[in-house]
Symmetry: C2
Subunit: 343 residues, 2 copies
């Protein structure tokens, strides 16, 4: 347990370092208004804090820098209790606007979030598996090609074009669509593949000549992979951070960000609420110099998606956590309202 004095000084060191990115020395601390101790006394405290592992030196005679353990303590014991009290109105503005399109909203949120923080924001779109098919439709473009359009009850639209094999006539196609529509309406996207392979296939076999071929095409057009939507904002923001002066860091960072799967895995967390991962706490090597803060937004008890901010370990935790908290609440509220309207 830290004494009041130790806590105070740890806090000053972290706050100062977060702002300046330079190691903090005892003399600098003693000059702060809120500190009325001499540099020498502070040195004693710092020595204690270092022994306990909360701060460290970059070299034998340098000032002190927060360690990951230090940040962790700061996040858990200094910031956490104060979150939730202050409410952010910027976010409200963002969401209050007519809720036209969920994707737009998420995209915009990512943008705002990165602008506000100067870090990189990552938002994982809502899980679409639980949404249900509202309508399936095929618009034929020509004799040889058509577009299949799938609309879900959440207003999500997926579409694929595909070529119509010569053996299938226009009337066959129409039959297929009718069957599919009848049987698939209300089926959740997660169940889709299963329902198709069991029920629909037998139905189709009765009505449609040469159905295997038709089916193959439709399936290739639609039911393989339901990609997770990923929105990234402010990828260049981190370039402005001084810890990014090493070009190799830049390389490995951007290489990681280009790999969507990797980024998605980064955010997949079973946990609700805010989660802070500092430096090596993270399991991915590429971001062992970063901190990642994730928050989930949800609909009822069911998790929907994740918002995250990625920045240096020297991150403005207080600001970021408050912000993320507010945004995830707003999004949860918005989703709830919207869902209610869509009964």
């Amino acid at each position: 347990m830290l004494s009041d004095r130790q806590l105070m000084i740890l806090q000053v060191i972290i706050d100062d370092f977060i702002e300046s990115a330079h190691p903090v020395g005892s003399r600098a601390i003693s000059k702060k208004d809120e500190i009325s101790l001499s540099a020498a006394s502070i040195r004693n405290v710092m020595s204690d804090l270092e022994e306990m592992g909360y701060i460290e030196k970059t070299h034998s005679s340098s000032g002190r820098v927060p360690s990951e353990k230090g940040y962790r303590y700061y996040v858990d014991n200094v910031i956490a209790p104060t979150v939730g009290k202050s409410n952010l109105y910027l976010m409200k503005d963002l969401i209050r606007d007519e809720f036209v399109d969920f994707e737009k909203l998420v995209q915009k949120s990512a943008e705002v979030l990165s602008d506000l923080t100067n870090y990189t924001s990552i938002i994982l779109g809502p899980e679409v598996f639980e949404t249900k098919v509202k309508q399936l439709q095929i618009v034929s473009i020509s004799e040889y090609s058509a577009v299949a359009i799938l609309v879900t009850d959440s207003g999500h639209v997926e579409h694929r074009s595909f070529t119509i094999p010569a053996e299938i006539s226009a009337s066959d196609l129409e039959k297929i669509v009718n069957i599919l529509n009848e049987r698939l309406k209300g089926v959740s996207l997660a169940q889709l593949p299963e329902v198709i392979t069991t029920e629909v296939i037998s139905l189709m076999r009765i009505y449609v000549r040469d159905f295997e071929k038709s089916f193959k095409y439709l399936q290739s057009a639609f039911f393989q992979d339901q990609p997770v939507k990923l929105y990234i904002g402010g990828k260049t923001n981190l370039l402005a951070q001084p810890e990014f002066n090493d070009i190799n860091k830049v390389r490995s960072f951007y290489q990681m960000m280009e790999n969507e799967d990797r980024v998605v895995n980064l955010l997949k967390t079973p946990q609700h609420g805010i989660k802070v991962t500092i430096g090596n706490e993270n399991e991915f090597d590429e971001i062992k110099d970063f901190s990642l803060i994730t928050a989930s937004y949800q609909l009822g008890a069911e998790q929907m998606g994740t918002i995250a901010l990625l920045g240096p370990t020297r991150m403005e935790y207080r600001k970021v956590i408050t912000l993320l908290n507010a945004l995830s609440n707003e999004m949860t509220d918005a989703l709830y309202l919207w869902y209610k309207n869509n009964g």
Copy 2:
């Protein structure tokens, strides 16, 4: 006009520099198999070339580096005549696969192109202005919201969700859709806004009560901006180039690439065929250290889109130009075939 000897040496310098990124000295040149002159003689030639502006020194006693004028000469007089002879089969493979979806094709092309060259590829999707409305449809999601879906005769799908204002009934909405469909079918996207404001409005006024409000919503859902589709591949490739060791270059480059409008403007060229822009020849400051090679792919006489590669001025022009040429031809062919099928 350059003498044979001068041309030969210029070529050696450029080839060597493109490969190594280091200034090329007279002694190094004289050691090449294809050169049978002493270093001293080469120095004389180099001195001439420098005076003419084709090469330059990085400092008073360094080897020579191609100038932009040098690259320009190389591209115009050394490479141009040899292009078109060699045909690339990799590209064919790419395009020969079932032409399922134009967007997929373009995206894949961007990827392959950047992998093959280690530069950054940028592809501008086909201009959709000339494509025509095939069908407009509105799927209502709930009492309060709906999705509008627009399918064009090129198989392109646009969709927006919007909220239905309380004053508009379901039957009104149906009427609106019917009217829109009837009048808009076959109208090109470019004409869309005009047709709507002239013809459709008056029609709607007759049939639909309180139409101004409905119209406003539909319009906001659709007819404002038709975004150009942009595909970028291998954004991180350039990071591997030695000229990218300056972190500030990295910053300004990535900042530019995040601005879609800027990138689109970069590629908008009235010219058909291959166009090479070297360093300062380009009007955008951010890429004055880069070379940009663009090729258009087309349908008939009508330009459709642009493929481009962005790399350091020290670029493998020969390879890149050949590649781009092949790809743009393949894409043009593919589009032609496809259009014929959709006659």
